[in-house]
């Protein structure tokens, strides 16, 4: 059996199409002429700072809010006018939504299980909640609650799963557990729209990300593409004296000062290096990714010891988004 066997509907691709979506609250435009597509089977991340319009966008996709303008098709349906047909096909974890405190895990599953529901016992088992069937919602930990929400989102063999700030407030171990579950959804071919401002989460889970700010799309692509476009610079840092002098000389020592100046010039001439700076005993070598290898090779090749505090800051999605936000006129991170 394949994942398509779980979805007894005609395939629709793209799963989500948004054209010119606009939504305002009290004169403030929250989503501004947004275009978006989610392809079948992909995990798409909506990223951006708080207030970027991510949650409003997914609420419009689910028909929970009526757009002021624009066209939305989700699984070929209009979310607002075809809500009764569409919503059972979407599994969702909404931001700031919960369950009644005294509702037990098994009762929640029974309550939300529709005609298409899968084996609830197996799902609870898979998400580590089989032993919590009789536990009230209020008695679950943060991670258990999020896992329960995932169970509810998957319960009715949803064709599209929307996860909004799924790991907000979870400790690192619980986050990893939830990431693992989402990764397996991805591997199973489920279409997932992940809304997050945790960029390490988007980088770990999403095949494609859409960066938003002030209700508009700033850029989109794979996480690696966004990093390559907006945050190319790597920084190699290490302590000055140990690495450059090679003898552990004290700061201010004539020999060390002379050796250091030569070494800094040599580093500056390495391929891929854009600049070298010194700050309180630390050297920072900036450049593209090739600079990492050349700096390492230079340290080894010149007979210097590899500094114990050598650190390489590789650009990630967070630095890409910050650069993107900073470089967009009228916007700030």
């Amino acid at each position: 059996m394949t994942i398509t066997d779980l979805h007894p509907f005609e395939p629709v691709d793209p799963v989500v199409t948004v054209r010119g979506l606009t939504k305002s609250y009290g004169g403030r435009t929250v989503v501004d002429r947004l275009d978006l597509e989610v392809q079948a089977g992909e995990v798409l991340g909506l990223i951006g700072a708080n207030g970027a319009g991510k949650t409003t966008t997914v609420e419009c996709l689910q028909g929970l809010r009526r757009p002021d303008a624009g066209e939305i098709r989700v699984l070929g349906l209009d979310p607002f006018h075809d809500a009764d047909r569409l919503r059972p096909q979407i599994g969702s974890q909404l931001q700031s939504s919960g369950l009644p405190d005294r509702l037990r895990v098994a009762e929640a599953v029974t309550l939300f299980a529709g005609p298409q529901a899968t084996d609830t016992g197996a799902l609870l088992e898979q998400f580590g909640l089989a032993g919590k069937r009789r536990s009230p919602y209020a008695g679950l930990s943060g991670g258990e609650r999020q896992r329960l929400f995932l169970v509810l989102a998957l319960l009715n063999r949803a064709r599209l799963v929307i996860l909004d700030e799924l790991t907000q407030g979870l400790d690192p171990a619980a986050r990893r557990e939830v990431w693992s579950a989402v990764a397996q959804l991805r591997d199973a071919g489920t279409t997932v729209l992940l809304v997050t401002h945790e960029l390490d989460e988007a980088e770990a889970l999403c095949e494609r990300v859409v960066a938003m700010s002030d209700g508009q799309v700033l850029d989109q692509g794979t996480p690696a593409e966004l990093v390559a476009r907006h945050a190319r610079e790597v920084v190699v840092r290490f302590a000055l004296a140990d690495a450059l002098d090679g003898r552990g000389g004290r700061s201010g020592d004539r020999h060390e000062t002379h050796g250091t100046a030569d070494a800094l010039q040599a580093l500056n001439r390495l391929p891929g290096v854009a600049g070298v700076t010194r700050d309180r005993g630390q050297v920072a070598v900036r450049g593209d990714r090739t600079a990492i290898a050349h700096v390492g090779a230079w340290l080894v090749g010149t007979g210097r010891s590899i500094p114990a505090d050598l650190r390489v800051d590789v650009p990630d999605l967070e630095s890409a988004l910050l650069t993107l936000l900073d470089s967009t006129p009228g916007r700030a991170a």
Binding site: A83, R102, T120, E125, Q126
Partner: protein
């Protein structure tokens, strides 16, 4: 360890192993709500315990003989009145707090996003309110019977109509309050502020005959007092309750219309 990809097909293959009973969403929601009702200390206190305890205390405070203040046996006066206290507590305290809690915690959004039919929550709340009254009302009478005796029902049809109309009116008011108030704490505060003056002036407090004229004027116009008169007058044979019944019906129509719109998912 979670293994979604590996076990989802297996989950389908063994779907006969543990399938929840396939009932309609509204029935599932109602079943869940009724279960939760029995676990809610606020409900157990205000809808079940408070009317009974208050009735036992005040029902025995004025003897059993009619006089110039009480046109009938005072104990029976209060037994009949306290059925309305159950209705008032359900509508003004239990439901506003319950629904405001749901709104505050995003439970209603979850119901809506999960494809629950538009009217399922409204119907479930109406049924839950009626269920609470159907349990607490007879329980109150069952406790009153051996202590004070039950007053004869002089006009059963009008009493039944009064109970149904008053119940629908106050359940709708409660649902409406729950959807309007911003938080469970606000709902509790407003609910208590509405309930206790209505309870003391219009239903379970001193009889109208001992009140000052202005206070009596106010008490006669309170919605809970109107509901009480619609039930108590035909029950005790001290009037037909037509005017209060019509007024309560009008309240029910308006409140139900507004509440249904506000609770549509």
């Amino acid at each position: 360890m979670m293994t979604v990809a590996a076990t989802r097909p297996a989950a389908v293959a063994t779907s006969e192993a543990e399938q929840p009973r396939r009932r309609s969403v509204t029935r599932r929601l109602l079943a869940a709500e009724l279960r939760l009702l029995t676990r809610d200390p606020l409900t157990l206190t205000f809808v079940l315990a408070f009317p009974i305890v208050s009735m036992l205390i005040i029902g025995g405070s004025f003897g059993t003989e009619p006089d110039e203040v009480f046109p009938v046996n005072p104990s029976h006066w209060y037994v009949a009145s306290y059925f309305t206290v159950v209705i008032g507590a359900t509508g003004l305290i239990m439901l506003p707090v319950h629904i405001a809690t749901y709104r505050e915690r995003g439970v209603l959004r979850r119901f809506a996003a999960s494809g629950f039919p538009r009217w399922s929550f409204s119907l479930a709340e109406l049924a839950m309110g009626l269920g609470a009254i159907a349990i607490a009302g007879p329980l109150l009478l069952a406790v009153a019977a051996p202590v004070y005796g039950l007053p004869d029902v002089e006009d059963p049809a009008r009493v039944a109509a009064g109970i149904v109309v008053a119940s629908v009116a106050f359940i709708s008011i409660g649902v409406l309050l729950g959807t309007l108030l911003p938080s469970a704490r606000a709902a509790q505060a407003v609910g208590l502020m509405l309930f206790f003056p209505s309870f003391l002036l219009g239903v379970g407090g001193p009889p109208p005959a001992v009140m000052s004229e202005p206070l009596r004027e106010i008490s006669e116009r309170l919605p809970l007092a109107l509901a009480n008169d619609a039930i108590r007058e035909p029950w005790l044979g001290i009037g037909n309750g037509t005017g209060p019944l019509l007024a309560t019906f009008a309240i029910a129509v308006v409140a139900t219309t507004l509440a249904a719109r506000r609770t549509a998912l």
